[in-house]
Chain length 266, copies 2
């Protein structure tokens, strides 16, 4: 089945296809209109601290939902028949902060102490920007969004800390103002930008050399606009070095039954 066919699937159909091994790649552009989530799965004795880290740093770490108890892998709060062990195309496993393997299901590695966090992702606000007629550069140039380490310190919570990572989309000033208005309505998917203009003010030395993702073109008449990024909690987890943890593989998200438009607070 091609990706083109997959765009016709609703979230439940897409998850079933993923569960059955029929789609193992990127979920970008699939199930348009529905919320896709970043994933962090941690042992219970790290979960309370991570929850507090998210509460203290809601812009990079907006919680859409979390499992209601350790070990729970069925997550009806985000969709019909969601099994977090099988319904994401690819997962990354880390041990003591080191990446150890990439897997397509968690059946053999699941543990009764694992707590699942589902975090908001930029796909939701990018959809809102596109729907408003704005250009999203990484989409029009068909690359991953450029992401940068900053000098903006996150609020620490126990073993979780570190600096914020931001994503960048270039825009003309009037479009940047409109993007701020639109994204302010969506606090659970990173909300309004955290910075715009001079990258050096947030510790970025070369805008053309992102730390993650790909560079995009930046016009002389454009401002770089920076949003808090979901890579922030991933780095915080690597920093905390739990003996075991799982994240989604970049771009391979949990597709939920929640509508993007219902994330809007206004």
């Amino acid at each position: 089945m091609t990706t083109e066919h997959n765009t016709k699937l609703n979230p439940l159909q897409l998850r079933q296809l993923i569960r059955n091994g029929g789609h193992r790649g990127n979920t970008s552009g699939l199930a348009p209109g529905y919320v896709q989530c970043n994933l962090a799965i941690l042992p219970a004795d790290y979960a309370d601290e991570f929850l507090r880290f998210c509460q203290l740093n809601p812009k990079p770490c907006p919680i859409i939902a979390m499992a209601d108890q350790p070990g729970a892998y069925l997550l009806p709060q985000v969709g019909t028949d969601v099994d977090i062990r099988t319904d994401v195309p690819a997962y990354e496993i880390f041990e003591h902060g080191q990446h150890t393997q990439r897997v397509h299901d968690l059946i053999s590695v699941w543990r009764d102490d694992l707590v699942t966090f589902m975090l908001g992702c930029s796909f939701s606000f990018e959809e809102a920007l596109l729907a408003d007629g704005l250009e999203v550069r990484n989409i029009s140039e068909k690359v991953n969004v450029p992401m940068y380490r900053t000098n903006i310190a996150c609020q620490r919570a126990g073993r979780f800390g570190g600096n914020m990572v931001v994503s960048m989309r270039p825009m003309k000033a009037a479009d940047a103002i409109r993007a701020i208005q639109i994204c302010s309505r969506f606090p659970s998917v990173h909300g309004a930008p955290v910075h715009l203009g001079d990258p050096s003010q947030i510790g970025i030395t070369d805008i053309h050399q992102p730390d993650f993702g790909d560079a995009v073109s930046l016009g002389a008449d454009e401002l770089p606009v920076f949003w808090a990024c979901g890579v922030t909690p991933q780095l915080a987890i690597q920093h905390a070095k739990p003996p075991f943890c799982i994240t989604h593989s970049p771009g391979c998200m949990l597709v939920t039954d929640l509508l993007n438009s219902r994330l809007s607070i206004l």
Copy 2:
């Protein structure tokens, strides 16, 4: 009576004081919390075109209220016992686009064909910015806000046209983002900024040489943030050259009984 005493007056008391000749200066900072309006008073055969000009250009020309018929000088829609002929500290009279006199009441010049427009003013959103803990540079430096002619063309309506005038307040990026959020809630007092960053993109050649008002300091770590300005309709009126028209004198506004907070759309 000193200005310090006048800050204790409610809008009705302040208008009565103005009517009786007891206050002939600036209304900035008086009756805090209440909407102050820019004023445009035009002959009836210009009023329909001016109304259309405002409708087409709501950011520089946001109508708070207008008289319900030519000649009406009592304006209960904006406050108790408002008489537009006497309740503004100072007025400017123009004939055929030329300024002819400054007066403190309109009793001797009032005509049965005059239509009064009351337009939103930056005092309202500056109050909202200050209440949010943001600095408003022209207030902290105790000068008039710097204003600039731009190359942003207004939508033309009959004899009314011209380019937009903007006011500028310098802010750090994060404060600019917050200011955009706050001002987006107040479309009837110029709303969100129209530009930020590079002044040359909107035709401003020297940010340190405003066309109206006073220069303010601009830090290397700050962006100039530009709002549509109420001087725009005044220039449009001078451009249209009606045989007779009246505006408020700069800074000497109509103080209404409307609460600034009630202008918020959210």
